[in-house]
Symmetry: C2
Subunit: 340 residues, 2 copies
């Protein structure tokens, strides 16, 4: 853990403050032998478990705009997208580290709020901050989080296990985050009338409990989280499993929009659901004989059957008004555009 | 592992290329159950070892300037500073993840060179890239590395174990990196005449073998790496151990400068050695009864006795021309200034 000076803080005082914020928000953790504050954190493994490691960064002007992201939202989202990666492995999240680069014009109060957002979500999942790096940035905020989780080897769910004939399921509903982003970008005054869409974009809820449910019961053959959009992430899953898929447009759960809201938005609800991205729902496959074990919902989140797996490697199709058309991976293309 | 589009690459092709570069440069690793390419990597722990985790980021305009850092240098240095953190725990480095944000004006060939620099150093230490995030940046390059290592609990060396009477040692020599930086910044045409200083700054060598030697023989009571400068890192060690220290200016090993070079540089060799930073040498304490077991050098790197530990918590002194004066923590102040 190191820090290069940001505004009037000295390194030690900033690291000490982070330690204080961290210790307030988390329970003592017997496996965390050495917490934040030394050259590295030290953690004890469990002999029958694997460690899971994943990294995701948020860059100002690419993934977020501080005109509508509060520092707390930013911290929350950086942790949420990483929790979602562990959920997508069927794992339990344990620890995270963070690197934040911040222009000198932002004071330590602002940085503190980013940490508060991170720790607010982390504490809901009993995830501990174990290290980080805070430094100045010449322009723009950069926030990187690396998360560690664990899973028993026989419970781990990857993108590789889907087989022809498996049934395709998705949690929650899709497209809300992208619709929320468009409201924030193009209709900022009206955005507050649609708080659920705004919330979906700023403070996504990782589906950790559903990931653990599927993993511990060994119900799924493959699992991925939807970060780039259903169309793109379904391609990822199919490519890694060397299978194809058909999904039925009528069955894809879409965020509920009113006529008024549809008039504001530039794309159809189906387009948002297929290509919007950043929903952080789970997409998974289930062998036919286990299909009946998948509930209609879990802890308040709906689970929908949306299609099936085929043997045409890499080929994804959409059934739309009775026609079968190619589903192109259009997710990340849309949202690679700067968020300004 | 996710990626948002940078220039003409599609996400999949960029991730696949990174997988290819990675697999070429590393040996098969039986503990790496799931490598790069899924939502997270999965690794098996060892039952008698702790995992070590550390993160350090490099930000363009703060930690480096691309006028004199090649992309390979940048990748090398990002891994080197993280390897140094694991060395400073007495640990063995194992795996790393990386997040890189790059302006769209840089093509995938440039990104590849950053990865090559990372993998070039990583392969020397048999350290494996297990995940990462590549995305666009509106301005400036941001490169964050998180490293995982391991250590047996009884071998782990922290900043906390120094006791009054312990002897203070440092590896290698100090100040060369900061002198090299000044040459690069202020005398770029002459810089090539002093390749060893330039190399110290651009491609620091982590002292992993010395860290392991001290840890496996249980010779050191505390250990830290010198990233911010001897004056500042000695304070870090003393504060965490609740002790003080006296160091003798005559004994501090300084990078060898000629009269010609001294005339170019704005500060004295002692000032660079005390406050320059980024040397990535190891600073450690040894109980008096073990002092004789510390060799004069290890694998070609000198080891110097430079002082002793006192019971005055947090107080550090410098013996200079027979006088004892307060040693202030001046390391990071100098180098918080942008590298432009």
């Amino acid at each position: 853990m190191t820090s290069r000076r940001v505004s009037p803080d000295t390194e030690l005082s900033l690291i000490k403050r982070i330690q204080r914020w961290t210790s307030r928000s988390s329970q003592p953790e017997p496996r965390l032998i050495l917490p934040i504050g030394d050259d590295a954190a030290a953690i004890r493994g469990r002999k029958d478990s694997l460690f899971l490691v994943s990294t995701d960064a948020l860059v100002e002007g690419i993934h977020f705009n501080l005109r509508y992201f509060s520092p707390e939202d930013l911290g929350w989202k950086a942790v949420a997208v990483n929790l979602s990666d562990i959920a997508a492995m069927g794992g339990t999240p344990l620890y995270f580290t963070t690197s934040i680069a911040v222009p000198r014009t932002r004071n330590s109060g602002w940085i503190r709020k980013v940490y508060q957002g991170m720790l607010q979500l982390a504490s809901k999942f009993q995830v501990h901050l174990i290290g980080g790096d805070t430094c100045a940035s010449p322009q723009g905020v950069f926030l990187d989080v690396t998360i560690l989780g664990e899973v028993k080897p026989w419970e781990m769910l990857t993108r590789r296990g889907a087989r022809p004939g498996d049934i395709l399921f998705v949690t929650g509903d899709l497209g809300g985050s992208a619709a929320g982003l468009e409201l924030l970008k193009r209709h900022s005054r009206l955005a507050r009338r649609y708080p659920e869409f705004i919330h979906r974009h700023l403070r996504p809820a990782p589906r950790s409990h559903i990931g653990r449910f599927l993993a511990s019961r060994r119900l799924a053959s493959s699992l991925i989280d939807i970060s780039d959009g259903l169309s793109t992430d379904l391609h990822h899953l199919c490519e890694q499993s060397r299978v194809g898929a058909v999904t039925d447009a009528d069955k894809i759960p879409m965020a509920k929009t009113s006529g008024k809201l549809c008039a504001l938005l530039s794309r159809t609800a189906l387009d948002y659901a297929l290509n919007g991205g950043e929903d952080y729902e789970l997409l998974f496959t289930v062998p036919p004989k286990l299909k009946s074990k998948i509930p209609k919902g879990f802890q308040g989140i709906a689970i929908h059957e949306i299609g099936w797996i085929t043997d045409e490697a890499g080929q994804c199709y959409l059934l739309d008004h009775g026609r079968r058309r190619k589903l192109l991976a259009r997710g990340f293309d849309h949202f690679a555009a700067p968020h300004r």
